[in-house]
Amino acid sequence: MEPPRYSYTVGIRSLEELLERDRQREKDGFNRKIRIGRLMKPGRSAKDKVIVIPTTVEEKFLHDTSVPSPSEEGSSGGSGDGEEGEILGEEPVRGTGPGAGPGEGESGPHEIESSAYDLGKILTEKFELPNLKDKGKKRSLTRYTYDLTDRHRGSGQVLDKKATLRKILKTNIHLGNIPDLDHIDPAEFLISPDDMIYRVLSPEKDFESQAMVFFLRDYSGSMEGKSTDLVVTQHVLIYSWLLYQYARQVESRFILHDTEAKEVGDFYTYYNSKVAGGTKVVSAYRLVNEIVKTENLAKDYNIYVFHGTDGDDWDTGGAEALPALKTIMMYANRIGITVAQHGSARNQRTEVEKYLAKSRFLTEKPNLIRLDVMEEDAVEGRLIEGIKKLIGP
């Protein structure tokens, strides 16, 4: 009997294959169907986890149960004592529940790194984000560490005995100083100083991160809720994307600020830290400048700075912020500023927007600094658009 030419059992397809199929849909004239989502579980004591998952909806003619009562969300069952009208419990509207964004917790670095890498990969493929260019920095992207690996004749730090012996033997054979190869007498060797082989210190190429990314976030009182969600979500996406883009060779620094700025150790603390007092954008810019200066980062890194804020700044007119920002522009490859506008401030320009406009940085150096303003209830698609704008060519 002839074996079947097709397989009955088709294994579960990988995400790549599914996305490839999704791209094909577009060519066939149908809408794409796969969305990439994230699931987050806040950990009890330490480890929050973020998982990248694909989702799709099977579209059908279905009843929309939400329509008749928009002001009151759907009702459910219940049991127990109590009068009608009695309140059973409350849930904050801007929750810190699963998936809702910042809450408290600490790092689980390996998990987020690997998952963020996947997310970045998907983002790059799915949304066809522009690839970053090296902007003018033609400096070598490698640094050197030194090791005693090179050999040198005649002088050096450590004598390489085996190599020296071999060299001496070679010289003596040439000289015809060894009559019987089976009975070598080392005492008879003629030793030239040139035969001494030493190990010397040598520069070794050490592949270093190609990019240094600063994430700056306003965590002042005014940022509570959606603005924070939006900024950190966008930063998660950028972070993921950079991780992928630089094949994990990206280093990140996280800075939170209210009126003062502080650096935090990892993305989790950055993601999860809770709100504090007033707002002074300059504090964060200054901290970046300080870090870059003291660690001499400008020489070896492509530097990117992403700043998320609600646009609020006590420093009216940007008297302090603008000079600090200008300093950053001298070494950075790209500065991306996200303003998550409050619903109440719609159609009004925020302080940050105002002084940026005044400075004319945005129009004069469009390759260096970008601004994206969105409303605080923006959806994920809008976030991606924002990223494209911030990091696009």
Binding site: Y6, V52, P54, F61, D64, G77, G80, G85
Partner: protein, 548 residues
């Protein structure tokens, strides 16, 4: 995926014996498999049918579920599928006593699958076998046609909730009595009222004559009745046949209609698509009763695992363990619905009511609460009654018939509402109502109820398909309409219209809050308007035909 070991199988056989003695019915042979978490994750998008056809959406689901599982690992104790022989899946880490309880649960599910009339059309064949051959067909077609097979699956699945489940059911229930049913309905509902337009008193006379005839001649009563009808109206039979001819095409559901009537699908090169569509349709039909009997099925299984396990000697030493696990499964939540708990309580309640003979006219007439409480006709037919209910009811009739105010009071049930407190910016959960009608309505809202969409043959002209959505105070999900229609357009091979009703919200007016006062918001008023969506060349358009 391995079969359970002999030791565990012996436990199962012990359960079968006791369950059978209690009155449950199921076939002798059953298959029990131990499955890994991975197996479960990979099977769940396929409705636990291992042989279901492959489809990329299932793969996406699997990847999603795997991600979820990493964060929130949970495993069901068991899953049973409605096959011949019945197959059930288990985790391997259950102790023996727990297996006893789970097996009772599973046996009650099997009994339900094999006895409830809403599963009638699944009784005569083994779905896994059928699905396997379908899967092979789909795989073979995929080897030839590539991704277009998946498009056809997608477009058909887009309308697979509109399958004519009840039509299918009535056909398998009364395969030979179709004509017989129709003639009686036709005579009283159509012929007398629309054709002859008889007066009400004449109409009632005819009904009386029919009843008398049945009373007098029993089985032959109907035949006798129609002898006279035919004498009086010689044209009756001819009109009836004409009526059948005109009406019968409507018995096609949308998938069948497309398959039968679409010119595109009749083309030689597209005929294979009909095979794929039929596979999707059959699969949907197979799953229909399960969605419609969730509360009953889970309630029935919970009722029996509790009843049988408490009497079983194998519970000894594990009473507390059982109580904990059982409470986890069947406790009534403070907020939310638990179909296991609700269904089980309702079966207990019905049994008690029937035992006291409360499903009777005599009881229904009593108004006084005390007298209702004390009423006891010593019927003792509770068990018999619940077996009857599990045979003939689905969730809707079950809830509609048996949930009453007494049941709600006894179990302290209420409808939970969720509202926004703008001052505190919190969602408040509160007791909205303890009234029967509200509670029942809340349950109805949670039941599966696909929209009713019909093909309007009058308006379908010149290769233009016209669908009409019968509005039941719930609009369709607007976002899904274009893509679903694009699928129908593809299968139909021409433009498609859908008439439906949409909500128009009046603009909400917000007045800025005065100091010390909270913001006032007017509730938006909903008005309904009738609209027609048209999909032509994959471009959607909408026009309003009836404004509010």
């Amino acid at each position: 995926m391995d079969l359970i070991n002999l030791h565990t199988k012996a436990i199962m056989e012990g359960c079968k014996e006791r369950a059978r003695d209690a009155g449950l019915t199921f076939q002798d042979e059953t298959l029990e498999y131990i499955v890994s978490n991975r197996d479960l994750l990979e099977l769940s998008p396929k409705g636990m049918i291992p042989t279901l056809y492959d489809y990329w959406v299932h793969d996406v689901e699997v990847l999603k579920e795997k991600g979820k599982y990493e964060l929130y690992p949970t495993n069901p104790y068991e899953t049973v599928i409605n096959t011949r022989p019945p197959i059930s899946f288990y985790n391997d880490n259950n102790p023996d006593w727990l297996n006893v309880m789970i097996f009772y649960h599973v046996l009650a599910h099997i009994d339900f699958f094999q006895s409830n009339f809403f599963y009638r059309h699944t009784w005569d064949y083994d779905f896994t076998g059928q699905a396997l051959s379908d899967k092979r067909v789909v795989a073979k077609l995929r080897a030839e046609k590539g991704r277009w097979v998946d498009y056809v699956i997608e477009f058909t699945r887009g309308i697979d909730n509109l399958v004519g489940f009840h039509r299918e059911l009535s056909q398998s229930e009364h395969p030979d009595s179709k004509w017989h049913q129709n003639i009686l309905d036709y005579y009283f509902d159509v012929f007398l009222q629309s054709v002859k337009k008889v007066s009400t008193s004449d109409y009632i006379k005819e009904i009386n004559r029919y009843n008398e005839s049945i009373g007098k001649y029993g089985d032959k009563g109907e035949e006798n009745f129609f002898l006279k009808v035919k004498k009086k109206y010689p044209e009756f039979e001819a009109l009836h046949e004409k009526h059948i001819r005109e009406k019968s095409p409507e018995r096609l559901d949308l998938i069948q209609f497309l398959s039968d009537k679409s010119e595109f699908l009749q083309k030689e090169e597209n005929r294979w698509m009909k095979t794929v569509m039929e596979v999707v349709r059959k699969t949907s039909l197979f799953f229909q009763p399960q969605i419609r009997t969730k509360i009953m099925n889970e309630g029935w299984a919970s009722y029996w695992h509790e009843t049988l396990f408490l009497k079983d000697d194998r519970i000894k030493g594990h009473e507390v363990d059982f109580a904990r696990i059982n409470a986890g499964v069947t406790a009534m939540p403070k907020v939310g619905l638990n179909s296991y708990a609700l269904g089980m309580r309702l079966f207990y309640y019905i049994e008690k009511m029937a035992d006291k003979g409360k499903f009777s006219h005599a009881f229904q007439r009593i108004k006084s609460a005390d007298q209702r409480d004390e009423f006891d006709a010593h019927g003792g037919k509770g068990k018999e009654f619940i077996f009857w209910v599990r045979k003939h009811f689905c969730d809707f009739i079950f809830i509609n018939s048996f949930i009453d105010q007494d049941f709600i009071n006894i179990n302290k049930l209420f409808v939970t509402g969720k509202r926004l407190n703008e001052k505190k910016m919190v969602w408040e959960y509160y007791i909205k109502s303890r009234k029967l009608n509200d509670y029942r309505q809340m349950l109805f809202d949670h039941l599966y109820h696909p929209p009713h969409i019909e093909i309007d043959r009058q308006k379908s002209k010149d290769r233009h398909l016209y669908l009409v959505h019968l509005f039941e105070n719930k609009p369709l999900v607007a976002e899904f309409i274009p893509n679903t229609m694009a699928g129908v357009e593809y299968l139909w091979g021409g433009p498609v219209s859908l008439e439906t009703t949409e909500a128009v919200f009046e603009k909400t007016e917000r007045t800025p809050a005065a100091p010390g006062k909270s913001e006032e918001t007017k509730k938006p008023e909903i008005k309904w308007e009738r609209v027609v969506y048209t999909m032509e060349n994959r471009i959607i358009s909408k026009r309003t035909i009836e404004s509010p």
